[in-house]
Amino acid sequence: MYEKDSEAGQISITYENAGRIFNSFFEEIGRVVVGQRKAVEHIVISILCGGHVLVESNPGLGKTLMISTISKALNLKFSRIQCTPDLMPADITGTNIIEERESGKKEFRFEAGPVFSNIVLADEINRASPKTQSALLEAMQEKQVTVGNDTYLLDKPFFILATQNPIEMEGTYPLPEAQLDRFLLKILIDYPNFEEEKEIINRYTKAEAPKIRRGIDKSTLLELQALTRQVPISEELKERALKIVALTRKDKQNIEYGASPRASIGLILAAKARALIKGRNFVSQEDLDVMAYPVLRHRIILTFEAERSGITPDEAITELLKQVNPGYKEEKNETAPENQKEPAKKKLKLPGFRK
C-alpha cells in the first residue's frame, strides 16, 4: 500500500489507514458519548470537509458534551462561546486594547477573541443577537476576522460547531438563511434508547466521569482533510448529486426555496468524507443518499401547504431521493430521529427578537 508517496504530496495516510484511524477515534468518543454514533460521524465528516456544523436537539441530550469531547479527542485548540443576547461581536472576534509599554508609550494591541481557535463551540447560537451572529459569518466563510482596519487569518483547521435548541423560542434570534447556508451540515440528535440511557446513568453516576484520550492530532487531521478531497467520485454520482440539489429548486409542491450550489459542493464533499470514514476509496450512492439529509435539511424552506400538512424537511428530501432513484428506501437510522420529525413548524423564519 502507499504508505509514503512523494509524488502525490506529503500525504502519508492511506484510505485504509484512515478507516482504521476513524474506527478507533469513534471508539474513543464512545467512551464518553453513549450512542449517537451517526451524529458523531457527521460531525467528523464536517470537520474533514472543513465545514461547520449546526447541531439541534432538545435540551439535555448531550450535544455540548459530544462536541467538547470531539474537540478534546482531536487534540486541537478549543474554545467555547456561550451565546447570550448581550454577547457583543468583539466578545467573539477580539478587540484592540490600549497597552502601555515600559517606556510609557501607549499603543493598541489586538487581544484575540475565542474565535481564534481550531474548534469553536458556539453554544445556543440562536440566543446571540443578529449583530453577533453575523460577526461569525466572515470567520465561517473566509476563515478570517477583520477588526478595525486589520484582518487576521484564523488558524487551520477551523470549525464552528454551533448548537441550538428547537424549543424555547422565547428570547432567541433565528439564524438567517444566509448564515444557515454557511453550515455544511445540520445534525439532529435523537433521544437515547432505553439501553443507551441506562449506560449513560451507569457512566455518569460514578465517582469519576469517563475521560477521553487524545486521538487525532492537528497534522494528521490536515492530512485527512487533504485525503478527503482526493476520494474519487464517478460522473454518474456527481450528476446524481446535482439532480438532487436541482430538484429542491423544482419541487414547488413541498419546497418554496431550494438549495444553493454551495449545497451541491457540500453534498459531494460530505459523501467523499463519509467514504473515507468507512475506509472506502470511492464514493458510493449510499454516501450521497445518507448525506443528502444533513446537507439539505437546513437549506430548504418548505411551502406553507407542506408545513400545514405536517411534512418535515427530511420527508421532502426523501421524496426528492425517490424521484432520483425510484427504488430508494429511507434508512431510519441515517435520517432524522423520530422526535425531530416536526422542525418544519418550528422553522425559524421570522427575523427579529421574539417575546
Binding site: Y15, Q230, S234, E235, L237, F282, V283, Q285
Partner: protein, 298 residues
C-alpha cells in the same frame, strides 16, 4: 490507459453481441411473420387491392427461380415489418454500457469500475490504489463475460423453432382456409360494424326465436308486421287512430276566445340592415335559372 483499453475492448465485444441479438430477433420476427402470413394466405391481399391487382400472377426471375408477384410482395412486406418491429423493440430497450453490465454481473466491481474509469486521468493516492485494484480484478474477465448466454439461447431456440415450422409449412403447403378475401364477409358478420346493422338490431329478437328470413321490418302502418317472441306471435301493426297524426272522428273542444284587437301596426317601412346591392359572385345565374325553372314548372 490500461483500463481505458480494457473498457474499449468490452464495449467492442458488447456491440458485436448486441448485433447478434438483434439479428436473431430480426430473423425470428421474420419467420414468425412468414408463418402467420402463409397460414392465413396473406398473399391473396394483392388480389383485393385494386392498385396491385393488375400485377398479380406476374412472374419474376429471382436468383434463378421464378417468383410470383404475390410471393415476392409478401416476402418484402414481411421483411419490412420485421425490420420495423425489431427497430422499435431495440429503441425501447434500455441499453447499458459495458461498465454497467460488468458492475451488475460482478458486485465487487459495483461503483468502483465506473469511478475508476471516470477518474482514470486523475493522479492521486486514492485513485492510484483504486485503479490498481480494479485493473487486477478485471484482468481475468474475458469479453465473453458480457455475453448474455440466456438471451442468446432463447434467441437461437426461437429462431430454430420458427425456421423449422416455416420450412415445414412451405414444404407441405399447409395453410388455413382463411384468406384476406374472406375479410369483407367476416366484416359483415361483426355486429355494429356490418353494413346491415340496422336490420340486425331490429330483427334480433325474431332471429333468436327462429324467425329467420321473415321480413319483420315492414311499415307498421300498412301491412301486418309480426314478430315471434318466445314462440308467441305478436302483431306489431298499429291500428289507425293510435298514431301521433290526426285524430279522425273526435271533435276538439271548441274555444271561444274573445276577439282581441291587435295593436296598431306602424306602416312605416323599416330598411333592412343587411341589404346587399350586388349578389355574391357566381350566384346571379344560379338564382336566375332557379326562378326560370320555377316559372316553367308552373
Amino acid at each position: 490507459m490500461e483500463l481505458e483499453a480494457a473498457v474499449n475492448k468490452y464495449e467492442s465485444a458488447l456491440r458485436t453481441y448486441r448485433a447478434i441479438y438483434t439479428f436473431l430477433e430480426f430473423t425470428t420476427t421474420f419467420f414468425t411473420l412468414y408463418l402467420l402470413f402463409t397460414l392465413f394466405n396473406m398473399q391473396d391481399i394483392f388480389t383485393i387491392i385494386p392498385f396491385f391487382e393488375p400485377y398479380t400472377g406476374t412472374k419474376y426471375n429471382f436468383l434463378g427461380s421464378e417468383l410470383l408477384f404475390e410471393t415476392l410482395g409478401i416476402l418484402l412486406a414481411e421483411l419490412g415489418l420485421a425490420a420495423i418491429i425489431t427497430v422499435v423493440r431495440q429503441l425501447r430497450k434500455e441499453k447499458k454500457d459495458a461498465i454497467k453490465l460488468l458492475e451488475e454481473k460482478y458486485p465487487t466491481l459495483k461503483e468502483r469500475l465506473s469511478t475508476a474509469y471516470d477518474n482514470r486521468n486523475v493522479d492521486n493516492l486514492i485513485v492510484k490504489d483504486l485503479l490498481g485494484t480494479v485493473k487486477l480484478e478485471i484482468k481475468p474477465l474475458t469479453s465473453s463475460a458480457l455475453l448474455d448466454r440466456r438471451l442468446l439461447l432463447i434467441g437461437i431456440g426461437a429462431l430454430f423453432l420458427t425456421a423449422s415450422t416455416s420450412t415445414y409449412i412451405t414444404l407441405t403447403d399447409y395453410h388455413t382456409e382463411m384468406t384476406p378475401k374472406n375479410l369483407p364477409d367476416a366484416m359483415e358478420n361483426i355486429p355494429f360494424i356490418s353494413s346491415n346493422k340496422d336490420k340486425d338490431l331490429f330483427s334480433l329478437e325474431g332471429n333468436e326465436a327462429g324467425n329467420k328470413g321473415k321480413d319483420t321490418s315492414e311499415d307498421l302502418f300498412s301491412e301486418p308486421a309480426v314478430i315471434v317472441v318466445e314462440g308467441t306471435e305478436i302483431d306489431l301493426k298499429i291500428p289507425p287512430g293510435t298514431s301521433p297524426g290526426l285524430t279522425i272522428g273526435e271533435e276538439g273542444e271548441e274555444r271561444k276566445d274573445a276577439f282581441g284587437q291587435s295593436a296598431a301596426y306602424d306602416p312605416e317601412a323599416i330598411a333592412s340592415q343587411a341589404y346587399y346591392e350586388n349578389l355574391p359572385e357566381g350566384y346571379q345565374n344560379i338564382i336566375q335559372s332557379y326562378f326560370e325553372e320555377m316559372a316553367e314548372a308552373e
